[in-house]
């Protein structure tokens, strides 16, 4: 098994520490480059200044499973198993938290999870009304009534099949 040398400590914005295997942490590009910059230093603590602990935990959970599944299914079937896990992983995350998670993942530069979270948000808003989506993203409607009527006229057919959440 991995020795303590292969561990790194990730520190959340609240100062909470997470001990993580290097194999897991190396999926976070920012952690990788920080560690490369201070190579040779015994200090293996990386501060993720703007990332809250709950998001650090989610990201670690994702990549821990990612690494494990990859090891276990080297011969094939990894993608299928990962998809299964991703589904389960996303189910336990509150829809509002997805926004915070995408910010965190973007900051940590973790491509695989970034795609997963972006797709999850896209799926969540897909069949929602404009009003819901505005509220979800905190968007202020800056169209005048005339402009809005004009757009509605142009895309009349596009309003079918909407469900309000």
């Amino acid at each position: 098994m991995a020795s303590t040398d292969d561990k790194v400590i990730l520190k959340s914005s609240e100062g909470e520490c997470f001990e993580v295997d290097m194999a897991v942490a190396s999926h976070l590009q920012i952690v990788k480059s920080v560690l490369e910059d201070c190579e040779g230093s015994s200090d293996k603590v990386v501060s993720l200044f703007i990332v809250e602990a709950k998001y650090v935990a989610m990201i670690i959970e994702y990549y821990k499973n990612y690494v494990e599944l990859k090891e276990k299914h080297e011969e094939g079937g990894f993608e299928e198993k990962l998809k299964e896990f991703e589904k389960q992983f996303l189910e336990q995350i509150d829809k509002k938290e997805l926004k915070g998670l995408v910010m965190a993942v973007n900051y940590l530069n973790a491509p695989a999870l970034f795609d997963v979270v972006c797709t999850a948000i896209a799926k969540h808003i897909e069949n929602k009304s404009v009003e819901y989506v505005r509220e979800y993203f905190g968007i202020v409607n800056d169209f005048t009534a005339e402009e809005e009527a004009q757009i509605r006229e142009e895309h009349r057919w596009a309003y079918d099949g909407v469900n309000d959440d």
Binding site: C118, A122, I139, F143, E148, I151
Partner: protein, 399 residues
């Protein structure tokens, strides 16, 4: 919490194009983002790279397309609404980056985005189809290196008596004209219905018969007999070069053509083989592992074929019907449809003792449990062509 603009853009790239049009009115920033050509391009790239939400479109010569919704087992009808008169005769040549290439009455070629309803009529000089003796085969695809949409036309080049080869013409969206390519000297037969080419990996593919041997007989004049082998004609749209791919070595290449089908599922080329005993093998070709070999005095490519599914014989079907793969669904199950077989009946096929009265038109095969389950697809009308399609907002007039 408001997300920065670039993150919103990444998320919107993954929202299906029909919904995006609705989101244009969220606010001015979203409106300009979704309407920008940069964003449209980005979504096209994402969709074509990941085959995000790719679906099957079923078509016939009728003026509407049936978008298959596997999740709800229904089809959504979309009328082909470009401004031609209402006569029938529209055929789908292909779909690429959200655009359909349609031929109308063999005279007009149109690029059409069913999502934005924008169309572009290619003012083509001369007929789309060259009516010689043989058949005309068309295919549609995209050459990303030149940002060019291309239409390929194959037809038999014939002089008075002897079949001389295959004429290849290519139409480019940039020059808006046809260009003649060197005649293919291979003795390949374009047989069967004039099926459009299967687009996978910037190349079009057709199943062809390759003449391996001619023999002369003399009985009241000279007759010529040919021995043929099945092969896949691949035409690379970037290099504008043809090649022939051998079918999997496990299959006897002398099997009749009706036992095979070529499909482009989920970004890979697959070959279906209907075995005489009634089971179906689906093969997938690794398009990156070609090797050139000499066979039948011509250069062929060998490819790495993998058998992905073997579907057992559906003994409940009457002998004049068979199952044909329709779509590989997200959960790994295969959607099949029942097709009538014309002209031949295999006697080797196993049959159930009693055939139940209730016959379904569609079946889902689960390779894990090795079981079939019959299903209905709501609203599905007659179709004879299956095309893979993804929605984008790309305008056919933007190139």
């Amino acid at each position: 919490m408001a997300l920065p603009r670039h993150l919103i853009s990444h998320i919107l790239t993954r929202v299906p194009a029909p919904t995006l049009r609705r989101f244009k009115k969220n606010c001015k920033q979203w409106g300009s983002e979704i309407g920008s050509s940069f964003f449209v391009r980005k979504q096209v790239d994402y969709v074509s790279r990941t085959r995000y939400r790719e679906g099957a479109v079923l078509s016939s010569s009728a003026r509407s397309l049936q978008f298959l919704d596997c999740e709800n087992m229904r089809v959504e009808l979309r009328r082909i609404d470009f401004p031609f008169d209402g006569r029938r005769g529209v055929s789908v040549i292909g779909s690429c980056n959200g655009l359909f290439c349609l031929a109308w009455m063999d005279k007009v070629l149109v690029l059409w985005n069913p999502c934005t309803k924008v169309c572009r009529d290619f003012a083509i000089s001369g007929p789309v189809v060259r009516r010689h003796y043989g058949l005309n085969w068309l295919g549609f695809g995209y050459d990303g290196t030149r940002d060019e949409y291309k239409i390929l036309r194959l037809h038999r080049h014939e002089t008075a008596q002897i079949m001389e080869g295959t004429q290849v013409d290519i139409f480019s969206s940039k020059t808006n004209s046809w260009k003649e390519l060197p005649i293919l000297r291979w003795e390949i037969g374009l047989v069967g219905q004039s099926q459009p080419g299967t687009l996978v990996d910037h190349a079009l593919h057709w199943l062809v018969e390759y003449v391996t041997r001619w023999e002369n007989f003399e009985i009241d004049g000279i007759f010529r007999f040919k021995t043929v082998a099945k092969a896949i004609l691949r035409f690379d749209l970037v290099e504008e070069k043809p090649s022939l791919i051998l079918i999997p070595p496990d299959i006897d290449c002398r099997h009749p053509l009706y036992e095979f089908e070529l499909r482009g599922f989920g970004g890979f080329l697959s070959l279906t083989h209907h075995n005489e005993e009634g089971h179906i093998d689906m093969w997938r070709v690794g398009l990156d592992k070609f090797k050139e070999i000499e066979r039948f005095s011509a250069k062929f490519l060998t490819a790495a074929w993998t058998k992905i599914i073997t579907i057992p014989c559906m003994t409940q079907l009457p002998l004049n019907k068979r199952l044909e793969p329709l779509w590989l669904m997200e959960d790994g199950k295969l959607l099949l449809h029942v097709q009538k077989i014309y002209g031949f009946i295999t006697k080797k096929r196993k049959r159930a003792e009693e055939i139940s009265v209730e016959q379904k038109k569609f079946y889902v095969y689960d390779p894990k449990s090795e079981e079939f389950s019959g299903c209905e697809i709501k609203g599905c009308k007659f179709f004879n062509r299956i095309t893979a399609h993804s929605h984008t907002l790309l305008s056919p007039n933007s190139f």
